[in-house]
Symmetry: C2
Subunit: 225 residues, 2 copies
Amino acid sequence: MTDEPVVPRSRRERPAKPPLTREAIIGTALAILAEEGLGKVTMRRIASALDTGHASLYVYVRDTEDLHAQILDELLGRMPPISRGGDWRARMHELLASYTRVLHQHPEIARMTRAGHPVGPHYFALVESTLELLNEGGVGDDEAAWGVDLLLSAVTANAVEHGTDDFAGKNDDALIATAGQIATAGTQYPHIARLGDSMLSGSAAERFEWGVDVLLNGILGTGRA
Amino acid sequence: MTDEPVVPRSRRERPAKPPLTREAIIGTALAILAEEGLGKVTMRRIASALDTGHASLYVYVRDTEDLHAQILDELLGRMPPISRGGDWRARMHELLASYTRVLHQHPEIARMTRAGHPVGPHYFALVESTLELLNEGGVGDDEAAWGVDLLLSAVTANAVEHGTDDFAGKNDDALIATAGQIATAGTQYPHIARLGDSMLSGSAAERFEWGVDVLLNGILGTGRA
DNA sequence: ACCTGAACACCGTTCAAGT
DNA sequence: ACCTGAACACCGTTCAAGT
């Protein structure tokens, strides 16, 4: 009812409508992603949050796939820089844990990470850091070249799979359902029945550490033909 | 113009409208998936192919996510049984290559494999087979229990990543774009610049074989704390 | 060059009413 | 119990017209 139209504000104080830029679009998309999930990150939703028409976005973004790719790379840009000094293996664990943390915070976007080969500048930086550490660890060039892909793919898959269960990693519905199936496995799936408890054991962190060591040991111990 | 209304056909010969069942729905979904891609596998599209109303599908399928999960498990059911006899490692390669082949044929559905923990009966069978082979290979129970997840996740990620480039695996657009970026990497990303060629080298099959061996060697050589 | 509104061709899901 | 049509609340993308 009471609108405040009369007093004009200095334009520095409150710009009525910020300019439409790629940065504004991605920033808004990230905010919506964090608050409402990927399902709401649509052209129309972003445009309305920016108080513009949805067709206007196509000046800065080719299509929905491009939008998602840009969001993902922006997210990777938020990774802290790799720490200097210390054991290469420890630093590799640190780097990959940091990458995992980013993906964990946005499980839905992580799912599409490997769709059309992510090629943003920030993903490139992650590849470079991984190669640097493999080199420090004495991994041969050939093995490092193929290993970086294996390592990052496995870590991505792991992050997608375990969603946001940060440390406990035990009490989500899916896991309970799985446990139920395992209990029922009985004679039809003897190995699952026998190892079921062990399959579900351990914290997310423990499993992650072990997985990275498996990859690193495997890469160190398996020459390329 | 010339319709053929008069002669009544025996109902066995040509049932005008097959009964709506879960099987019919999934079968139709698979046909659309194969011919038109996941983007066209919608409730409305399936219903119209089955000559029924789209709301009718909800009797057999909870929602779109459930539909996708059922499609995926059906696809896994098409995997040939694991061959008996022979080296466990060779048979593991065979099993995982077979799994990869299924995912390669449907790259879009593969992308969502690990979304909400696939728990269909056919995925369970795949887990069981993998555990069986790890056991044959002398992998400890604890390592096998965690390793099966690592192995299947990595293979899934690999399949998603490399889409349908069956054997050549060299001449898709994304790879060319990547190669272009690598060439430009220069001093900013020295390791990428140095190893770029090697990163893109090898056939899909060679990379797959090496990756599986890395995992197996790593699992064999890395004890759980 | 950028922005806009309108139009086109779709979606998933729910629900009251039928059989 | 299953099927249906209609309704609701959305989508992405294109394009002619404006500025």
